[in-house]
């Protein structure tokens, strides 16, 4: 989702579990064998009600005919994989899938590239400049999604937006009255820019934290051995911070795939229509918009599958952390 999803903060920045790296945490067998189960019951209960039950409903109904008539009490016959096959045979669904994946990859890589550059810059800059940059990043990071979208809509407002004004000040450019959301490609570019703006802070600050773990002695030694600073970056720093980079990239993939809120809000304030849909808004339109819940459930299952593929690696990394 949005600005903060702190599982990663835990992994990336919080050294409290690993601060005493040599001591493995000890777990005991409870005197009463029921105690641990009693402790997890409330959490498991709420997960069953809030997630597992809807998930079960979704799996079942993705295999049934469930449209408007069923809303009003008609039988919902089993049609097994017909919902899936009709989606997969639909050219428009594929267009939305591909569009979402391209959007995800583009935004994630842009975020990572800018984030890493800013982290290196923080390392190179004097303390006061680094703190200034960190404060600015924190401000952007803290913005709620809805406020992000209203503010950027105002910045790019065709009539009085400051972006068009500033661009028009450049010689040879006249952007007066330019509508940034009209063209689908431009619409998605704006969406990607906003999401990148909002997610770079997390990446930059995490990568910077990782960079500070690279000991100066190692770099010093490399320099004495005649390594250029580019070589030091490529062969010493990058390999050391690689695990952090991988986790961050995977998180960006996961988050940039689920951008329902941003796209929906940008459509609210700008143009609407199929051409401006990504998977989230597409499923919303199918289910809540048109009441075709069977199809929407099948589409949601496909999104889930895509997410699972992307996050498989991430889960492996986290489990490794738990074993430590």
């Amino acid at each position: 989702m949005s600005i903060v999803e702190p599982p990663d903060l835990d992994t990336v920045e919080d050294p409290s579990p690993s601060d005493a790296p040599t001591r493995r945490p000890r777990r005991v067998r409870a005197r009463s064998p029921k105690l641990p189960y009693a402790l997890v019951v409330p959490a498991v209960g709420v997960l069953i009600v809030g997630l597992a039950y809807p998930m079960g409903w979704q799996i079942l109904n993705s295999m049934r005919e469930y449209g408007l008539p069923q809303q009003f009490g008609a039988d919902a016959p089993w049609i097994w994989f017909a919902n899936y096959t009709s989606l997969l045979g639909d050219g428009f669904f594929w267009r939305v899938v591909v569009r979402s994946l391209v959007f995800m990859a583009g935004t994630a890589f842009a975020t990572m590239a800018i984030g890493i550059l800013l982290a290196l810059l923080m390392k190179a800059a004097p303390r006061w400049a680094r703190l200034t940059l960190q404060m600015a990043l924190l401000l952007a990071w803290a913005m709620p999604i809805v406020a992000q979208m209203t503010v950027f809509s105002w910045l790019i407002d065709p009539r009085n937006g400051v972006l068009n004004y500033l661009l028009t000040q450049l010689p040879g450019i006249d952007m007066t009255g330019h509508n940034w959301l009209e063209e689908p490609l431009s619409f998605f570019f704006v969406a990607a820019a906003i999401i990148t703006w909002a997610s770079v802070p997390f990446v930059a600050i995490s990568v910077y934290a990782a960079l500070t773990q690279v000991s100066d002695e190692v770099l010093e030694a490399a320099k004495l051995d005649g390594a250029s600073s580019r070589q030091a970056l490529m062969y010493i720093i990058m390999p050391i911070i690689r695990p952090v980079l991988i986790i961050l990239l995977l998180l960006q993939f996961i988050w940039d795939l689920r951008v329902y809120a941003q796209i929906q809000l940008l459509q609210d304030f700008g143009p609407k229509g199929d051409d401006y849909d990504l998977l989230g808004t597409y499923i919303y339109g199918l289910g809540i918009g048109q009441g075709r819940f069977g199809l929407a459930a099948a589409a949601a299952m496909i999104v889930l599958l895509i997410t699972l593929c992307v996050s498989g690696f991430y889960v492996r990394e986290l489990l490794r952390e738990d074993a430590r």
């Binding site: 600005i3 903060v4 999803e5 599982p7 903060l9 835990d10 919080d14 579990p17 601060d19 945490p25 777990r27 067998r29 641990p36 189960y37 402790l39 997890v40 409330p42 959490a43 709420v46 997960l47 809807p54 409903w57 190179a124 800059a125 400049a129 940059l133 990043l137 401000l139 952007a140 803290a142 709620p144 999604i145 809805v146 406020a147 209203t150 503010v151 105002w154 910045l155 009539r159 009085n160 004004y165 703006w197 996961i254 329902y260 809120a261 929906q264 809000l265 998977l279 989230g280 499923i283 919303y284 809540i288 819940f293 889930l304 997410t307 699972l308 889960v315 986290l318 489990l319 738990d322």
Partner: protein, 278 residues
């Protein structure tokens, strides 16, 4: 000499980028103080001199702001209390005890965090509407607790693991029961963790838009993000009242920004503050 030039360049670049990154936030605040006349002028106004509080006054009185604020506060309070209680218990279980099914539970906690709202919200909508809980505090709270509990457990796990079990055992040798040992030893030591994860949960719930937009459709059951979307959308039908929309955005964003700054400090404290030194 060369390296000092480099540092100066880096400082310059850092400041320029800081200005670019903070600009939208600055622009939001700046515009929120401008009159409609100034804001619709041909030249943008870069400094809020001669500003007005009128936007704030209008946006809070002419729209159901206080209703939305009340709803947001109630949702956040219920979700936070329930979530923190459940998550503390769960975190204790996985970081203190060996038990059959522990791995499965940990895996579930991790996997569930990957679930995109997109992949679930249709089914959640059907369930909540089937229970007759659309537009109710209870309905949205169930979904929110399920949404934030996993990461809260995961985050607290780190803090609980940071308190060595030997401390609790020592207290038990001295005559405490397990519950007393937890309350007197572990609980105070993980308090910063509770604050930090509580603030994170707060931010998530306060900002949540996707689920709220489908579970809270009534005008009088809206949380603040929905309220903000509404005023932006309504005024978009005519000429947008950007001053008011920005004032509304400030009102939604400010609590988050404040808590964010707090939690950053707390996190740092949790990292360095070696509460357990011997």
């Amino acid at each position: 000499m060369r390296s000092s030039v480099k540092r100066a360049l880096a400082a310059f670049a850092a400041v320029v980028i800081a200005i670019i990154w903070a600009f939208p936030v600055y622009w939001m605040i700046n515009s929120s103080f401008l009159t409609p006349l100034t804001i619709s002028g041909l030249e943008p106004t870069f400094l809020p001199f001669g500003g007005t509080l009128k936007n704030y006054q209008e946006v809070t009185t002419e729209t159901p702001f206080f209703e939305a604020l009340t709803m947001s506060i109630m949702v956040v309070a219920v979700a936070l209390v329930v979530c923190l209680t459940f998550a503390t218990l769960g975190a204790l279980a996985i970081s203190r005890f060996r038990f059959r099914g522990r791995k499965t539970f940990v895996l579930t906690v991790i996997l569930v965090q990957m679930l995109p709202a997109e992949a679930m919200f249709i089914a959640q909508f059907k369930m909540i509407s089937g229970l007759g809980l659309l537009n109710s505090l209870v309905g949205v709270s169930i979904i929110y607790v399920a949404m934030v509990v996993p990461f809260t457990i995961w985050m607290l796990r780190g803090f609980v693991t940071g308190v060595p079990i030997e401390l609790e055992e020592a207290a038990m040798v001295d005559g405490c029961t397990r519950i007393q040992a937890f309350r007197r030893i572990t609980f105070p030591l993980i308090a910063p963790g509770l604050v930090a994860s509580g603030v994170f949960a707060f931010i998530q719930v306060w900002n949540e838009f996707a689920l709220a937009s489908i579970l809270l459709t009534d005008d009088d059951a809206q949380t603040l993000p929905l309220w903000l979307r509404d005023i932006a959308q309504q005024s978009n039908l005519g000429a947008p009242e950007w001053g008011q929309i920005m004032a509304g955005s400030v009102l939604v964003a400010v609590p988050v920004i404040i808590f964010f700054v707090i939690v950053q400090g707390r996190m740092a404290q949790g990292l360095v503050g070696g509460a357990v030194k011997g």
